[in-house]
Amino acid sequence: MFNSIVMVKQVPDTANISGKVMKDDGTVNRTKLPAIFNHEDRVALELALQVKEKYGGKVIAITMGPPRASDILRECLYMGTDETYLISDRKFAGADTLATSYVLSEVIKKIGGYDFIFAGRQAIDGDTAQVGPQTAEKLGIPQITYTEEILDVNKNKIKIKRKIDGGYEIVESTLPVLITVLKNVVSPRPFSSKRVMAFKNAKSVLDLEKLAEENSLLYTDKLIHEYKERNLLINTFTMDDLNLDIKRCGIAGSPTKVHKVESVILKGGNQIRVEPTKAGLNNLIEQLMTDHIFG
């Protein structure tokens, strides 16, 4: 039996971004972008689910983000996750990787009882690959990044094949360990239709608070109790639920700041058009010979 915590992230779909979605302070206006489940995190979840199927245990998915990040936690449930946690508070907003890993590591300490922490190698909105190692450091556990394959798990060890510069290596780590996963190492399973039916109404405490706000007949505490009974509660941590140093959260806890953001401008201008003819190409080759590139 091995228990896994999977760190997942909802990311803006960076395939289609323009300067219009950036706020003046250089951070992204996420509300203007389609939000998707970061692919590598989904691959990490798949690996965790495979470990569970093979060796038994429990899979817990956690995410930090705005309230609507509960979307991807529902997707985790559709794939087979046992428990989910949403970590959401305005005070966490604007966090860089250091502040993010601080909050995540405190949440993981609170959840406890894990053998593995899985995460994608990096998220497409920042491509930093930093949150995994920084979380491992804060938890004081080893890390295995760039994982390609889990070869074996036994009692208190895991054997992994990982990418290195120019090749691969096989390493063995004691547990617990944090593992980050490369894309395309396994295909994430499709949603189980049964689980979609079972969990499509799963809600976070923040969702329920909103429901209660909109309908005077509903009370948050009662709703939470009810959803918990029906196994539809997405556990939720806000600042108040955690014993955190506020100076280490959000913008205040982030040493890196975005100073300037520029859309990419092409330089160019001095280009010489060469006719696609024999004469044109002859001239080009002569020019390159004069420049000592050819010959």
């Binding site: 803006p12 960076t14 971004i17 300067g19 250089g26 990787t97 250091l98 890993s101 497409i124 920042g126 491509d127 930093t128 690959a129 930093q130 949150v131 995994g132 190692p133 450091e137 080893p142 295995i144 990044t145 760039y146 290195i164 510069d165 120019g166 090749g167 691969y168 290596e169 096989i170 390493v171 063995e172 780590s173 360990v177 040493p255 890196t256 700041k257 975005v258 100073h259 300037k260 953001v261 520029e262 859309s263 990419v264 092409l266 330089k267 160019g268 001095n270 280009q271 010489i272 058009r273 060469v274 006719e275 696609p276 024999k278 044109g280 190409l281 020019q287 010979m289 590139i293 050819f294």
Partner: protein
């Protein structure tokens, strides 16, 4: 804020050989140190790596810290990060640079987390500048410049309020030029004290291909893109490269289409190159590709689409069908240089 006015570069080695990117960083670090009137330091960790430490002085190091121990032969996260944690914590360098390699991206965040430093990943440029940020004046900050959001945006990141500014830097983007007169060798040995924690992860085996293509060293590169449509057409690229003595490369789309192997991919997720001549055939010139080749000395673009962005950075543009142009090019070349 208390810190040493120094730039520190982590020198990465694999199988006892230094990584190019580390020396590239020394060259850049040398310039940064000058701009802030500071010193350039480097850290070499490994087993039997004194020669590497000596080499750093050719690239401008003022002092190199050497941690040499049989247990440190191969990079492993825990011992290496523990060593650097101690060095950074006790010395508090103003800047620490790592290559944005698998090793650098594994190690740097761990050290940044421990020392609560700011860390910016995958920088493509670094500068020293006075900065005004939120009505505060910050003298001589490190500008950490990197593409963001899929390469659509160039962001400048700063780390104004902590003593140590850290960055990982992509391979091949900084120029590698030894300084005119090497600095005097000044190696400071630091003792490694083994700890059980360092042994939590063991390397069972390691495979590295040493004979892989070295695009970075090629003076001429002929690269093909998805515009070539078929593997047959891509052969023309190979023929051209063969004729003019160049290496074959491809865009990501060409790699994804199976026209060329991933180790020959140029661009943001591949290799960054700066050859004397870069011929881009059927490559539209997405920002991710340009990021990997725009510093080439001369660029020739061949594309059927006259509006293709690749023409914006090309020195010579040829609008037309590569399948027709390349054979003529080869013929003309053979005729001129036989």
């Amino acid at each position: 804020m208390n810190f040493q006015n120094e730039v520190m570069v982590f020198i990465e080695q694999r199988d006892g050989k230094p990584a190019d990117v580390s020396f590239e960083l020394l060259c850049k670090g040398h310039k940064l140190a000058e701009a802030m009137n500071g010193k350039l330091k480097s850290v070499v960790i490994g087993a039997g790596v004194e020669e590497i430490a000596k080499e750093t002085f050719r690239f401008g190091a003022d002092e190199t810290l050497l941690v040499d121990h049989p247990l440190l032969r191969n990079y492993r996260t825990l011992p290496y990060s523990r060593i650097l944690n101690d060095i950074v914590k006790s010395r508090v360098p103003r800047i620490v640079l790592f290559g944005a390699t698998v090793i650098g991206r594994d190690l740097a965040p761990r050290v940044a987390s421990y020392t609560k430093s700011g860390l910016t990943a995958d920088c493509t440029d670094l500068q020293i500048s006075d900065v005004k940020y939120l009505n505060h004046e910050y003298p001589k900050l490190l500008l950490q410049i990197r593409p963001a959001f899929g390469g659509n945006i160039i962001a400048t990141i700063i780390t104004p309020d902590v003593p140590t500014q850290m960055a990982t830097v992509r391979e091949g983007v900084m120029e590698l030029t030894p300084i005119e007169k090497p600095n005097e060798i000044k190696i400071t040995r630091i003792e490694y004290k083994p700890d059980p924690v360092d042994e939590l992860v063991q390397i069972i085996e390691q495979h590295r291909e040493n004979n892989k293509v070295n695009l970075k060293a090629a003076p001429i590169i002929v690269a093909g893109g998805y515009g070539l449509s078929t593997k047959e057409n891509f052969k023309l690229v190979e023929e051209l490269a063969h004729t003019i003595g160049g290496e074959v490369a491809g865009s990501r789309a060409a790699v994804d289409a199976g026209f060329v192997t991933p180790d020959r991919q140029v661009g943001q997720t591949g290799v960054t190159v700066r050859p004397k001549l870069y011929i881009a055939v059927g490559i539209s010139g997405a920002i991710q590709h340009r990021a990997g080749m725009q510093e080439s000395n001369k660029i020739i673009a061949i594309n059927t689409d006259p509006e293709a962005p690749i023409f914006e950075i090309a020195h010579y543009g040829i609008v037309g069908d590569a399948a027709e142009i390349i054979p003529v090019f080869i013929e003309a070349y053979k005729h001129k240089l036989k």
